[in-house]
């Protein structure tokens, strides 16, 4: 067991500062939330509450200290006030603990850098790897390991899947995780990095890159603590064919040393980070709300397709609304994607499936009359998917009600399952009239968006990832 294994897959956990009770305002105490989350989400290893004032917590024997615990401890979770963490870390060292998650705050984030350095120095001397301090914790969804004080633990059951979400903000990251699960995103891991005094986002990326449950990384960053290692970890993910999607907060600042030159003034740190993302194939989003829907898109498409071979430079568009066809084509142009006119042969083939007054050049407007045909829509979409001059397909559903919504949900699900190309959907119509059909898409893991723009941006990201993968293959071949 490596030290990071002890963090992710411990057999025994000590919760230092465990409790059972609520605060004056009725919320669970942090030591209570941590215990509850471990237990409620089904951690299979040993849980040892540590609290000198209690003899029993959650039906388990409470220990006065880590050193008193009978049997080995792989991982310690520290929930004490900052000053108390020093003694606790000494005891963890004496006990032979392999890793620690320090959830306590009151360290470098409030200026107490010396205390943080001392804590890490004690851990390092004992060979203990430290996550945090000031972290909201870890969740390994596939191993039912929820070492977190985040209230997101109250959501039951968790939705597991292929998105590894690493966040520098515990509170925002927790809320995004919760909303993400509500929107159908399944996660492999959730990691709140905290102050990154020892382990940083780069370590977690590096560790998880070969995890079979991870299909895509979603990162919420406020800073990059070790650029060289971070980039190396991202390159590792790219080589493994796993996209890294990143949102980074922080307005641009001018490098003080370079401000005497024009170039320096033009190269603010935010712009530099953007350049770094482009150079190393990271997919940067500029709206935090785009992060998880995009991660979900890659995770779901990655279940059926080799993401490394996916492209989206040439988009086929199909809808029964001429209006949204135009919108989608505009969005493709804005995103730098083509909407090529189909060959005469292909157009003739599609003519046979659609009403007389439909438009078949691409975008393909099958018109509202398509509903009088049982197979016209599916045949059209299949013909576009089969076309060698089309890389990816965007289907847009507008004003439909049940039972037509169910037709779309069911048929698009089948088309997506059989497709060897990326297929994404925009559902612009009212969801209340599609209560059966719309959820069928999410259940079938078909990426579906509210707007044409969001869907096209996802296609743009697929194309960027594919372009970078081709570049990697080219470099390897050289």
């Amino acid at each position: 067991m490596t030290h990071l294994d002890a963090l992710f897959k411990p057999k025994s956990v000590a919760v230092i500062g465990a409790s059972q009770g609520t605060t004056a305002t009725g919320s669970p105490k942090l030591g209570t939330a941590a215990m509850k989350n471990l237990i409620d989400h089904g951690f299979v290893g040993a849980i040892h509450p540590v609290n000198p004032r209690e003899s029993e917590l959650f039906g388990r024997r409470a220990w006065p200290s880590v050193t008193a615990i009978e049997g080995p401890v792989d991982l310690a979770i520290l929930l004490l006030p900052a000053a108390g963490c020093i003694d606790a870390m000494h005891e963890c060292a004496a006990k032979g603990v392999k890793a620690a998650i320090v959830m306590s705050s009151g360290f470098a984030e409030v200026g107490a850098s010396a205390l943080e350095r001392e804590l890490v120095a004690i851990a390092r001397a004992a060979g203990i790897r430290v996550a945090g301090p000031n972290t909201a914790g870890f969740i390994d969804f596939h191993h039912r390991f929820a070492a977190t004080i985040s209230m997101v633990g109250e959501m039951q059951p968790f939705r597991s899947g292929g998105v590894a979400f690493i966040t520098q903000s515990g509170a925002l990251g927790g809320s995004m995780l919760g909303r993400g699960m509500e929107q159908g995103v399944g996660f492999s891991h959730w990691i709140s990095t905290g102050n990154q005094a020892d382990l940083s986002a780069a370590d977690f990326l590096e560790y998880l890159v070969d995890d079979v449950h991870v299909r895509v990384f979603a990162l919420f960053l406020e800073s990059v603590s070790d650029p060289t290692r971070f980039i190396a970890a991202c390159e590792g993910a790219a080589r493994a064919g796993k996209p890294v999607i990143v949102y980074k907060s922080g307005a641009s600042k001018v490098g003080a040393a370079a401000s005497a030159s024009h170039t320096g003034a033009l190269a603010g740190s935010h712009a530099v980070f953007g350049a770094l993302c482009r150079q190393h194939g990271l997919i940067q989003v500029d709206d935090v709300a785009e992060l998880l829907p995009l991660a979900k898109t890659f995770a779901w498409l990655g279940e059926r397709l080799d993401l490394r071979a996916q492209r989206a430079a040439r988009v086929g568009i199909v809808s029964a609304s001429g209006g949204i066809c135009g919108v989608a084509a505009d969005e493709c142009e804005r995103a730098g994607l083509e909407v090529p006119e189909l060959s005469a042969e292909r157009q003739a083939q599609i003519r046979g499936y659609v009403p007389e007054f439909a438009s078949v050049r691409n975008p393909i407007d099958v018109t509202g009359q398509i509903r009088s045909s049982e197979t016209g829509y599916q045949d059209t979409v299949r013909a576009v998917l089969d076309d060698a001059a089309i890389d990816a397909v965007l289907l847009l559903v507008t004003m439909v009600a049940e039972p037509r919504a169910t037709f779309y949900g069911c048929e698009i699900g089948k088309l997506a399952a059989a497709a060897r190309k990326s297929l994404v959907v925009t559902w612009a119509g009212p969801l209340s009239l599609a209560s059966q059909g719309y959820p069928m898409l999410t259940n079938a893991h078909v990426p579906v968006f509210d707007s044409a723009r969001a869907a096209v941006q996802a296609l743009g990201a697929i194309e960027r990832f594919g372009t970078y993968q081709r570049r990697l293959r080219l470099r390897k071949a050289l």
């Binding site: 490098g255 040393a257 005497a260 030159s261 170039t263 033009l266 190269a267 740190s269 530099v272 770094l276």
Partner: protein, 213 residues
């Protein structure tokens, strides 16, 4: 205190890294200026250079488009008088092209040397149309940067102008990146304008800032 190489030395250094620079020579007096102009070929630009004169245009130390010996001699006299012995003259071939780009380098405190390509000229900062890369970079990066700027259409055949030699611009970008890696004592580089004469880029003005000692 920020130190900078002289304009002439800056371009010599860049030329050593494969950057095509405007043909130019230094002159101490009127007759050297005349001889240089005859050698370089008219029209020429005459500049007054010296460590005290950072903003040459604002100080009236740039005389453009001198087309003959008489105007070169006149400009040389005027500049020497204005500088009162505190500077030397720089005689340059007058290069005009409607298309002006910039290539630069600055050091990000976290990520290290960053190269920049973008729209150049006097409004470069106001327009802020640039693409960046963190060093080290390869040829594919240097070519991609040119496709990233909003004004990328200017690199094509526009308004009767020939297509810009983007491979040559890529070599300028790569040269600046190499220089940045070789010389950690250089804080920043501005090549602005990088004028496109016909289809070929040429560095007309350059600034090389050195790290404070």
């Amino acid at each position: 205190m920020t130190r900078a190489l002289g304009e002439f030395e800056a371009k010599q250094l860049l030329a050593a890294y494969g950057v095509p620079v405007v043909s130019e020579a230094r002159a101490r007096d009127e007759s050297e200026a005349f001889a240089a102009a005859e050698r370089i070929g008219y029209p020429v630009v005459l500049k007054g250079c010296g460590p005290e004169f950072k903003h040459k245009t604002e100080l009236g130390l740039v005389h453009l488009n001198l087309r003959d010996a008489v105007s070169v001699r006149g400009a040389a006299r005027a500049l020497l008088d204005a500088m009162q012995g505190a500077g030397t003259l720089l005689v340059q071939r007058m290069v005009v092209g409607p298309r002006e780009f910039l290539v630069g380098m600055s050091r990000d405190p976290q990520f290290g040397p960053v190269v920049t390509f973008g729209l150049g000229g006097i409004f470069a900062e106001a327009l802020a149309d640039v693409a960046l890369r963190v060093c080290p970079i390869g040829l594919d990066d240097a070519l991609e940067m040119q496709e990233e700027i909003r004004a990328r259409a200017l690199l094509g055949a526009v308004r009767g102008l020939p297509t810009v030699n983007t491979q040559a611009i890529a070599r300028v970008i790569l040269g600046v990146a190499r220089l940045a890696m070789d010389r950690p004592d250089i804080d920043a580089i501005d090549i602005n304008p990088l004028v496109v004469a016909g289809s070929e880029p040429v560095a007309v003005d350059a600034l090389v800032l050195l790290a404070p000692t």
